[in-house]
């Protein structure tokens, strides 16, 4: 279970929070000017990155504030926490170095052997 550093309350258990999906998707200011494809982009299309992802989180059982989190979705490591409206910080990749040549990011132990 994650330990999330709420920018307003400090470190709290994950069960106090809810995740609100990908961050930095701004609602267009001029919806009538957008064609269906552009609107669908805003409405439906989200990234599902295996690795660094910027996400919205809400401290729903705490201060109820929304904020942003930079998280590696494969390792579940939280790399940065910042407030709404702030620019996403530059975060260096933290993909693990693997001992036996298996894919850098994966689940379980080295169940896949290196294909020559």
């Amino acid at each position: 279970m994650l330990l999330i550093n709420c920018p307003y309350c400090g470190e709290r258990e994950q069960e106090e929070f809810s995740c609100g999906g990908e961050a930095h998707i701004e609602r267009p200011k001029n919806p009538p000017d957008l064609n269906d494809d552009q609107w669908a982009d805003y409405l439906f299309l989200r990234q599902n990155i295996k690795g660094l992802q910027y996400e919205r989180w809400n401290h729903s059982f705490g201060c109820r504030q929304w904020f942003n989190v930079a998280r590696n979705t494969a390792t579940d490591e939280i790399l940065a926490v910042y407030k709404m409206g702030e620019k996403p910080p530059v975060v260096e990749s933290n993909d693990p170095i693997t001992p036996c040549g298996e894919p850098a990011i994966g689940s379980g132990n080295f169940s896949t052997s290196k294909k020559s």
């Binding site: 330990l3 609602r27 609107w39 409405l43 809400n58 729903s60 390792t75 036996c100 379980g108």
Partner: protein, 991 residues
């Protein structure tokens, strides 16, 4: 009598217990396993598949065979490992998987039929013909499984406990204790967890003469350190606690058995506690598990792991045999021979697969005059319910020699207990020289020390622990321990030799067990490989190796070795199966903790709840709320009660507890603008004291909520939401405010529970409010529909709205919660002469359906726009933007033939349709396209016929046409109509 100088047993405290109905005696400190072994009970149960006689092979949580059914009735617990059960007075245990008795078991016929039950037997046999599976399943389910689960509620209580610490140390063996001492001197908050009831780990199985630390016996060393640790306030030590899960961010779960020696006496006390631990740093000192060897008939009672035999000898003072043979591929088993020597028991022989014995221990054993057969293997064993002899032969020779014995100690090397390390996402490395998977790379603040890190020699363990723990905790080495550093003599160890399959040639006609609990043999693995299974994960699932309740603690590495030997591939290239949590089985009770029965989910009740109960209400769950469903009088059936409530409301006066509706208080400069953005209609011009109905959309244009919002003041509004959506609407509004429109000054406060809401409906409702608020004129001019007044009754301020969800004249009174019940009672007595009738949610549904009012979540399902609901009038054309506006003109949402809300009337008025029923065209062909479905369907007592609402493709334009509802045995003819069945001109509503 037990042997003296044992470590666990208090011989002054005798304990009686029952096994399979027979009474035995043990001592305090015994496990069930040690007590049974002391009484000469080696045959504990029957194996899973072949029903072979099985006995205890180990002395810890890795035990695959010695599993029993503990206690009776509501206290019964299946599949408990006898090696983990602490003995208590009056304990009752039963052997499992046998009928009629463990000594004569009918199912043992499976053993003779074994050639017909190879790996994949079930997959192959019971697949054809496919429809017969239901027949087979009954028999397979009956034959499978080990113990029986309890049929009654568990009378015990369970608890969860949160704990934060600087350093968590798992395991209290030599390295764990040493690490605890180092961490403790640094003033860190230390938690030391031990799974057994005694601190010490491997110290408990050691003798008092060898492997001394700083010249002291290991027991003396332990006593000294424990004494020091116990004096410190910053160190907490818990025993009988197994760490079973290691998750992200050093979050770990452990299960503590409180007073396991109390048995069922503690039924009113807490039995187990799940510790939820957050540790800044974690030190794993979890030790290692000895591996069995794989040879024909290696599963007979009396064949045990060598080190476990030492533990029963040194720890529990039990000598398990008179004629003892040891079979090994490494040096460690020789320690068992030496342990017996100290007790003046000489063993028959050591059989060693190795040719050259270079280590110190074999030399010592040789000098004791014990016969060592080098380059030799055990081919087979004999003895039905207990081992009688072993057949040994030299490798590459054919002469078989038979040695009589009553105890065979085996050792196939050691597997570091890396389970928790890998759960923490740590990566393993395979070490060829002793076939160990050892920790390689960590991804959390974790350190592995001692034999779980693949370090087995005492001196190395002490050195490694000192260096790596100091380094890990960033301590100053010189200052730590006040200069006291622990040391030991070196024991030179000879090389281990792999012996995965000692008798490879005879594998196909043998029973060489690999997984004892699931009865998987080397032959099964060979079959799986020959049938083309290559991945270790596939072989595991096909053979079920490692899938029993012990999760293959003793079998997984052996299976890998066998696969490697048969396939010619390196073990390191095979990888391992995943070490999943929990490390050992955990009771459901412990995981549930206190969150059972009434604490399983929050139950919300209104301030009027007690009245509903006293008046015979049946309740319906709406979200977490308990809402009155209907109020039967004198054994009235549901239909009769609902019809009565509906009729009374239209005819005279009905009263509804509407307190569960979500209420959000909105204040601030920009509330009007905010409402303009989140609702489809316009709000700027709503006058103070007026109410307006609003529909809320998602940005995809679909209806997510509806409700009435009232303007209380210039910058003050009160929004109502549907009961089920109150929390999600609140959270969505906060989301928009905080993330998209931080420039708006709006403050949201949930006031759902601060106010109770009483809804008075029907032509006589005005009479009641006139009595409650005599100073107010309630005629249409002074208090029209969709308006609000702040009024007083008995000095209590109320918010009264004239709004309606029934189509009748209706007044909703919001009053502070603490006054709600008294106002309700007052309404009931004032309404007596008008036949005031409390109605529940079912009547509420019928009333609103008669009037064609929708319920979000019933008429809508997340794919319905306000246009689909024929509510064009509520969608502003003038506003530049609101949430959901742009999506309403997407090609899909704007298309003609979307499903639209209409009324549905059956041609036969007595038929009440099923909600969810499909609608098809009258003239249609197979496959019949579905053109719509029924969303609401009731009998309307006011109309004297059935009514329904439904969503029909292009339905608004098709009013008057017929459709068919196909059912199992007949087709029901229906007509599409307007959804408003009563008072379409609003004469009753505005009366």
């Amino acid at each position: 009598m037990r042997l003296q100088n044992n470590k666990n047993i208090d011989q002054t405290k005798k304990i009686s217990f029952f096994f399979d109905g027979k009474k035995y005696y043990g001592y305090e400190g015994d496990t069930l396993a040690s007590a049974l072994l002391y009484n000469g009970v080696h045959l504990i149960g029957r194996s899973f598949k072949y029903h072979r006689p099985r006995g205890i092979i180990s002395a810890g949580c890795e035990e695959p065979n010695g599993i029993v059914q503990l206690e009776l009735n509501e206290f019964t617990e299946p599949n408990r490992r006898a090696t983990e059960v602490i003995l208590y007075q009056g304990l009752i245990a039963k052997s499992q998987n046998r009928w009629p008795s463990v000594k004569f078991d009918f199912g043992a016929i499976n053993d003779l039929l074994a050639p017909f039950f190879p790996a994949g037997f079930y997959y192959k046999t019971f697949m054809w013909p496919p429809k017969f599976w239901k027949t087979y399943e009954h028999f397979i389910r009956h034959a499978a499984g080990l113990g029986n689960s309890p049929k009654k509620d568990d009378p015990h209580k369970y608890e969860h406990y949160h704990y934060h610490c600087d350093t968590l140390i798992v395991g209290s063996g030599i390295s764990g204790l040493y690490a605890a001492k180092i961490a403790a001197t640094q003033n860190l908050k230390v938690l030391l967890i031990e799974q057994e009831n005694q601190i010490g780990g491997s110290i408990l199985s050691s003798n008092n003469y060898d492997n001394k630390i700083n010249g002291k016996s290991q027991s003396e060393w332990k006593a000294k350190i424990l004494d020091e640790l116990n004096k410190l306030n910053n160190v907490k030590i818990v025993t009988n606690t197994i760490l079973f899960a290691y998750m992200h961010y050093n979050y770990l779960l452990a299960i503590q058995d409180l007073q396991p020696n109390k048995g069922t006496d503690k039924k009113n006390l807490i039995r187990q506690v799940v510790w939820k631990i957050r540790a800044k740093k974690v030190i794993l000192a979890t030790g290692s598990i000895e591996r069995p060897l794989t040879f024909n008939n290696n599963d007979r009672p009396g064949i045990m792991l060598a080190n476990s035999v030492s533990k029963y000898l040194n720890g529990y003072g039990i000598n398990l045999g008179k004629k003892i043979v040891i079979f090994t591929n490494n040096d460690s088993a020789y320690q068992t021979a030496i342990d017996f020597h100290y007790r003046n028991i000489n063993i028959v022989a050591v059989v060693d697969v190795r040719n050259n014995l270079e280590g110190e221990l074999p030399l010592k054993v040789k000098n004791l005059g014990i016969k060592i057969y080098t380059s030799s293997i055990i081919l087979d064993t004999s003895g039905r319910n207990k081992i009688k002899s072993v057949h040994i032969k030299k490798i590459n020779q054919n002469n078989v020699k038979i040695l009589n014995c009553d105890l065979l100690c085996m050792s196939g090397g050691w597997s570091p207990t890396v389970h928790l390390f890998t759960q923490s996402r740590g990566k393993l490395r395979f070490r060829e020289e002793d076939s160990c998977f050892v920790p390689h790379q960590t991804f959390q603040d974790t350190l592995s020390i001692g034999s779980c890190n693949g370090v087995f020699d005492l001196k190395s363990i002490l050195n490694e622990t000192f260096n790596s723990v100091n380094n890990f905790l960033n301590t100053n080495e010189k200052e730590s321990l006040n200069g006291e550093i622990f040391d030991s003599e070196v024991t030179n160890t000879g090389k281990q030799k792999n012996a995965w399959l000692v008798d490879k040639e005879n594998i196909s006609k043998s029973k060489m067990f690999v997984d004892f609990q699931n009865d998987v043999t080397a032959k099964d693995i060979k079959i799986a490989l020959s049938e083309g299974f290559q991945s270790i994960e596939h072989v595991k699932r096909y053979t079920t190796n490692g899938m029993a309740t012990d999760q293959g603690k003793t079998s997984n590495v052996n299976a890998l070795g066998i696969i490697s030997e048969l396939s010619g591939k390196d073990i390191s290239s095979l990888g391992t199966t995943t070490f999943r949590l929990p490390y050992t089985p955990v009771t459901f009770g412990a995981l549930a903790g206190r969150f059972v029965k009434e604490f399983f989910d929050i139950e919300r009740t209104t301030p009027i709840h007690s009245w509903h109960i006293n008046n015979n209400a049946l309740f319906e769950d709406v979200g977490q709320w308990k809402r009155p469903w209907y109020y039967p009088i004198n054994n009235e059936k549901m239909d009769d009660a609902v019809n009565r409530e509906v009729k009374a409301t239209r005819d005279s006066l009905g009263i509804l507890d509407a307190s569960t509706l979500g209420k959000i208080d909105l204040k601030g400069r920009d509330v009007s603008e905010f409402l303009n953005r989140v609702y489809t209609n316009a709000w700027s011009k709503l006058a103070i004291g007026k109410c307006r109905y609003g529909v809320m959309l998602g940005d995809d244009g679909m209806v997510i909520d509806d409700g009435v919002t009232t303007r209380l003041g210039e910058h003050h509004y009160l929004m109502t939401t549907t009961t089920g959506n109150a929390a999600s609407v609140m959270s969505k509004l906060e989301d928009w405010l905080q993330t998209e429109w931080p420039e708006l000054e709006v403050y949201l406060t949930s006031v759902t529970e601060q106010f109770g809401t009483i809804s008075l409906n029907g032509p006589n409702s005005r009479k009641i409010v006139e009595s409650l608020f005599p100073d107010q004129n309630f005629n249409n001019e002074n208090f029209p529909h969709m308006s609000f007044k702040e009024l007083n009754t008995d000095g209590v301020p109320c918010r009264v709205m004239r709004i309606s969800f029934t189509g009748e004249i209706c007044y909703e009174i919001n009053i502070p919660s603490s006054y709600t019940l008294s106002l309700w009672n007052k309404c009931i007595s004032l309404g007596e002469s008008y036949n005031i009738t409390p109605y529940g949610t079912e009547a509420m549904h019928v009333l609103r359906a008669e009037k064609g009012y929708i319920i979000v979540g019933q008429e809508t399902d997340g794919s319905v726009t306000p246009i689909d609901l024929d509510m064009n009038w509520i969608v502003s054309k003038k506003k530049y933007d609101f949430i959901g506006k742009r999506a309403l003109t997407r090609s899909d949402t704007a298309k003609e033939d979307r499903k639209q809300l209409v009324g549905i009337l059956t041609v036969d008025p007595s038929i009440v349709l099923e909600e969810g029923a499909h609608l098809v065209e009258v003239e249609t062909s197979i496959p019949m396209p579905m053109v719509g479905h029924i969303t609401s369907s009731y009998y309307s007592p006011n109309l004297g016929r059935s009514i329904a609402l439904g969503l029909v493709k292009n339905g608004i334009k098709k009013k008057g046409t017929k459709l068919i509802v196909p059912t199992n045995n007949k087709s029901i003819e229906v007509e599409i109509t307007s959804p408003v069945f009563i008072d379409p001109e609003n004469e009753r509503l505005l009366a």
